[in-house]
Symmetry: D2
Amino acid sequence: MSAHEPKLRRPEAYLAGLRDGREVWYQGERVDDVTTHPELGVAARHGALDFQLAHDPDYADLAVTDGYSTFYALPRSAADLRRRSKLIETSTTHGATLVVLLKEIGTDALFALHRVTHGTDAYERVEAFYRHCRAGDLALAVAQTDVKGDRSLGPSGQSDPDLYVRISERRPDGVVVRGAKVHTSCTPNVDEIIVIPTRALRGDEQDWAVAFAVPVAPQGVKLVCSDYLHGAQDEWVHPISSRHKMVETLTIFEDVFVPWERVFLAGDTERAGKLALTFVEYHRLTAVSYKLPLVDTLVGLAALLAEANGIARASHVRDKLTWLIGYAETVRALTHAACDRARVDEATGIAYPDPLTTNLAKWTFARDYYQAVEHVIDLAGGLLVTGVGGSDWESPELRPYLEKYLAGAVPAAERLPLFNLASELCARAYAGYQGVLAIHAEGSLEAEKLLIYRSYDSAAALELARRLAGVEERE
Amino acid sequence: MSAHEPKLRRPEAYLAGLRDGREVWYQGERVDDVTTHPELGVAARHGALDFQLAHDPDYADLAVTDGYSTFYALPRSAADLRRRSKLIETSTTHGATLVVLLKEIGTDALFALHRVTHGTDAYERVEAFYRHCRAGDLALAVAQTDVKGDRSLGPSGQSDPDLYVRISERRPDGVVVRGAKVHTSCTPNVDEIIVIPTRALRGDEQDWAVAFAVPVAPQGVKLVCSDYLHGAQDEWVHPISSRHKMVETLTIFEDVFVPWERVFLAGDTERAGKLALTFVEYHRLTAVSYKLPLVDTLVGLAALLAEANGIARASHVRDKLTWLIGYAETVRALTHAACDRARVDEATGIAYPDPLTTNLAKWTFARDYYQAVEHVIDLAGGLLVTGVGGSDWESPELRPYLEKYLAGAVPAAERLPLFNLASELCARAYAGYQGVLAIHAEGSLEAEKLLIYRSYDSAAALELARRLAGVEERE
Amino acid sequence: MSAHEPKLRRPEAYLAGLRDGREVWYQGERVDDVTTHPELGVAARHGALDFQLAHDPDYADLAVTDGYSTFYALPRSAADLRRRSKLIETSTTHGATLVVLLKEIGTDALFALHRVTHGTDAYERVEAFYRHCRAGDLALAVAQTDVKGDRSLGPSGQSDPDLYVRISERRPDGVVVRGAKVHTSCTPNVDEIIVIPTRALRGDEQDWAVAFAVPVAPQGVKLVCSDYLHGAQDEWVHPISSRHKMVETLTIFEDVFVPWERVFLAGDTERAGKLALTFVEYHRLTAVSYKLPLVDTLVGLAALLAEANGIARASHVRDKLTWLIGYAETVRALTHAACDRARVDEATGIAYPDPLTTNLAKWTFARDYYQAVEHVIDLAGGLLVTGVGGSDWESPELRPYLEKYLAGAVPAAERLPLFNLASELCARAYAGYQGVLAIHAEGSLEAEKLLIYRSYDSAAALELARRLAGVEERE
Amino acid sequence: MSAHEPKLRRPEAYLAGLRDGREVWYQGERVDDVTTHPELGVAARHGALDFQLAHDPDYADLAVTDGYSTFYALPRSAADLRRRSKLIETSTTHGATLVVLLKEIGTDALFALHRVTHGTDAYERVEAFYRHCRAGDLALAVAQTDVKGDRSLGPSGQSDPDLYVRISERRPDGVVVRGAKVHTSCTPNVDEIIVIPTRALRGDEQDWAVAFAVPVAPQGVKLVCSDYLHGAQDEWVHPISSRHKMVETLTIFEDVFVPWERVFLAGDTERAGKLALTFVEYHRLTAVSYKLPLVDTLVGLAALLAEANGIARASHVRDKLTWLIGYAETVRALTHAACDRARVDEATGIAYPDPLTTNLAKWTFARDYYQAVEHVIDLAGGLLVTGVGGSDWESPELRPYLEKYLAGAVPAAERLPLFNLASELCARAYAGYQGVLAIHAEGSLEAEKLLIYRSYDSAAALELARRLAGVEERE
């Protein structure tokens, strides 16, 4: 092995790297080893999928670029963005509708950091960190959303200045940071955390204009894991969440020291806002890319349920299936269009998806997600929440009754797994997880609408309307 | 005490009555005593609420009529229906958005049985059974939905005749029934099960035209409980479902003998269809009555979340709150109108709610339920699924961080319970339970639309349109 | 005849009263006599419907109260409001979906003036004017909406103070007013104009806090009529608008003198805002009452079109008809509920409809109106805009072809009038008139939402949500 | 000039060609010369736009291909379809939101005829006719929609066999056809009519399986024009329809003889259905291409109205503008994607747009069109239907008042034209024309949904759902 190895780590190497004394809390207890923990371990193994894929000959063309993970390839064209989008879609399909997100989000942030720091000293530090991550085939989390306190106030207006992560001390060798981020995905099972601002800042809010990277393990980084998906061990009724898991943390920085070589922004409020938005440009494309397996599953599942229930020929059923197809394929078409309409940042040569189309794709997905879920529920039936559990099915005393009475137009052994999948996707905790993510993750409905409004180039439409009305443009 | 006591049972008496050797299965195991079982016991205690209310001096006026439970009062007027609706709304409020349903659904069926059997021999048997239940202050389940097999076929077209409950043998002293029903609510903690047909039947499907009542305990009645809401013990994150529970069963009748005095329909296919629909007339009013606390909670919770997050003055937030208010109040106005427009069955003098308005209320509730949920999620934020658990909050090491960082415009100790309630109602398994019930329970969206179409008296609208178009009515 | 006659004028007397030298402009020309003008005369005769109805023995019970027009009866109860609503619905049915509005809107304003001026000197003047109008059986317009200029500014912020009607001079015997109102309905064919403020005012905007009444004829009142519905003479293709018309004016007050006895508000900014809102409370009930024949016609027409086209049994057709029924009947139920939940103003004993329910009814009507129109278009077909005209139908050379080729499941002579009615209601200028009125008349969608938000009593919902979350009310 | 000239006719030559004795009826009268008729002449001049564009140096690159009109270029690739789509969008922009359709629809039919007749004798006749049209730079109408009679019955089930156009006689030199089509656009001002079937046929309905072309003028072709847009001369209030017009006809074939060289289908029922669908594949792309200027105008106009009224910064206004942007840009993105995903017919090498995406684009446009209209109405205000007319504005006595009182945040001279445009697009007859076309032209909502359902390749989604549920594909 050369000094630069590993380029493409094996799953085992990735898992081994997570045993580094990181401070992880789960259900009120400090976790020793996240890879062997009964619940967090599921998340770690889910994360390992990204590494498996890169070593799978069937996917090497897609997942590997120039010997590195394709995720790390700086996009230069529409084709690069389409390929990246395809990779995200593919790895999420392996994740059974759950995004892996070990490198997706981190590289979104790295691309944005390249573009925003270009022309400043920090650019070289970003470059160096990028090469470090790529060479080490590292897994990255991005902590963006501050805890924010009272949303009607900005960072400097809060009763507690730590409600947005901030520089609490500037030292010759680096900065000390303090505060907390929420909704940080995958933190317990990544190598490094990239921290970026969450919003535009006022000119005097320089302490909050901070971006940096730290390994997960150092003193002062506390990860309080959400146990939201706790209790999904039964594989029969939780065909997805018993095997796949993503963990979000409250990520606390308690006076964490960051050396200058990992500080990418420190005081530049204008670039802070720009970084927040530029990251989002990439990250919403990531989002819609990884939503495609989810919406496809809803379409396929709805069709299978209709068939299993014997209602596939009913007119209202076709109408609902058609709506689902239209929904899924509109999101897909907009996602592809966002890539195809790529723009290239002149300074860095890095491509990015068309912001209007990206936000339109994300908004379309999010706005109609619950309608899609409702249609699947409609076609499935009440058994989603009144059905039997895995131990009932395993019981020799009950099984004959279940086989006899829960058959539809197909045998119970085939129909019930469809109900279980639908229950996971549309009713149980995992359904809520996907639903809340649809509405909030990678930007809320309102955030997406705002960017659609702002990204729209209105010149042609205004000119057309003026011409037809016969009025001149006002000075 | 008179010989006829108990008229109004105490909760303890009710619970004692459930220990009768009934055959109840939960998670693959036979349950000995449903009142002491760690999970089913929650449902039993939830059921006891109806008995508590009747003994609560604050509610006696509403809950007690002529010394009996008001639920058993045969409605004679619009005012009676409004009072019944109010009682259902009130008891569900005590059930924390979960209907109690111990007497609601059973009396819905009894009212329907009175009307449909009038003019037949069975009327006296219905009357006698009704007096028996009322005098004993009994709790009743109604098993209506057959397992149905292939939905594109009727009872007689199935590969297995038992896929709709049927008379397998007629004997001089009664009938033997065979088959299974699904979605039977509360069965493990009621006294008697009333069984009625689920759909219109063809003239030659007489074996399936059967209605009867049996105690829960006899030989051959097997209850396989859904464990859908299993695992909700943590009161902090499950403020509702840790304390309130309703259990649905797959209700199997394995050659159960029913004496003639409890048989209300046996072979009359026309009345079978009529009974299915007449029951639904009452039961959908029950449904919309018990949905009111749920929609009110969504409205109130959304407003509290907006305030806790500091976003209450944002324009889009007001818009969403207004939508929620409009939704809740439209359902309420239609529910009240359904009562106010009561009709009275001439033969029996029993009142029933206006079918058009009842179905309109139910459809309006169901059609927009997921939109309401989405709005609450929107106003709450991602913490619904990335938040911390009860043991985190209890941890002395973590609590200071949670209090510091999860405060909003109100302290964390006040904000987090709102999130927990919202998570239960909009994301976790209980949310799915309510959501699937919204779409399917007491009739699907399509069933409600069908009854709106059929119940509408089109004469005036057709006449008006014809007059304005200047065309004559066709012969 | 007594000195107090006429109590109930005959249509002829009403029309005669309109020949008084009023300054009416139509299509750039001064109109001599509005009753004989080829287009405005249609509106005058439409207005006469209200007088006909009062003399029609079939409607006397409804239309006449204590010898006066029922419109003038001050409502004292829910029953009074229901009766008033029924009268408005009935007269609009006679108006073929077009409200008559000769007394509806004026009495809405008179009721509001009674309540708002109670406790001030003006109350007696209101009373006197009310008795004058009732005794004379007068027709009344209400001019409320100011021209408003730049909507982002209030009256005092405009570049021209006249953009809201204002007192330009106070004199010992009265006030001089100046400014203009838009959207004033029926002005050319009423006897008196009541002028009221359009919005809440700041404390220093006293000149704009003015309400008064003037006859239509005096010097300085200029009525510039909209000719929007011009060109609808062909009765075959305009079955409604060739016979029924309402005219809106730009109503200009060019230094009009108003004697004190007709001034109801002059400088009281607080009452100005209250008057604007109180009027709206009544007027939105008027609105939803007169929308009922329109929505009923859409339902009936859709059903007739489906039948005429031979598509009545298609599943999607039933679905659309059901939606239309649900729409119409929800608006009706809410309208009735708004009356039934009447409140009574303590000071004056005058009843008013429940504001929340009234606004909910109006918003429901307005929000879904275009969906209703779209469904009717869907069921009708493209012939709505590609069909033939009345002279084609009259042509002996063409008629045989039209009868042969434009028959559907019914003969062309029956089918085409249905298309013509649908074209008027859903495509031609009259359709646009009804559509724009749906969105804007009697308050916009946003105005209705604002009042729903403000009228809602949130106490119970907040208390319920707090209780379920286990949090205390904040001080 | 070569003998084959004209390749690109001048507008004058086109108009001259329409004076050929064609039998055109308008308002019950036979029309002598459609180019000089006061109303039909507007349509002829609108049609001439396509010829102007081809001679305009600014558009020659787009509008001319190999010396012929680009419309006649057989598409071979995605790029060809994009270029064709762009040309349609461009010419419609010149038509002020009204499609010109002189060559668009005819070439849609010619492309379909090429593909469907390939492998039959008729292919050469199609080829010859295509070269004839292209060389002569002809204008073409397509008559597809039969009058259909009772829609619940097919051609052979009608009481009158002529309710679908049919072969009434087969002769050695050609066929005689009989029947009528509706909704034929532009017929009075084109050179040739292409007639194709409207639906799939049963095997025994051979007489109705007919496709052919005839010049407009021959004996027996009667055109009964719709006068729907009659009465739009005032340029001030009808800025579009006073200058632009499209005319639809009831197109009657009264025993018209068609020589074999113009017969493309005669008895082949299978190809009849295929031709109907293949035409639609192209024609729906044409449709969405020509809708783009319409939706863009709605967006631009809404923004200008908001600015003119001074409400552009209100939150609800931004929300509605954002919705409109999202609507327009989703339709555009799907239209482009339909081209980009072009498929190529192997036999002929002719490209066609992806059917799923094309139908999705069209359905998205149509489904939300009335919502878009409603938003523009909402932002404009009631003046759309209560405003003044052109003669009011011209009146020296009224103008000063209109300028004073109808100003907004911009002068009246600028604001009123915006209202006039909005009134045309959203309220007046032209609005209804566009609205009904949105719902019905080029296929109804239901037709589009049917093709979405049928075009969808469900294999991947079914496979994914099966894999996640753990069930095998059924044999």
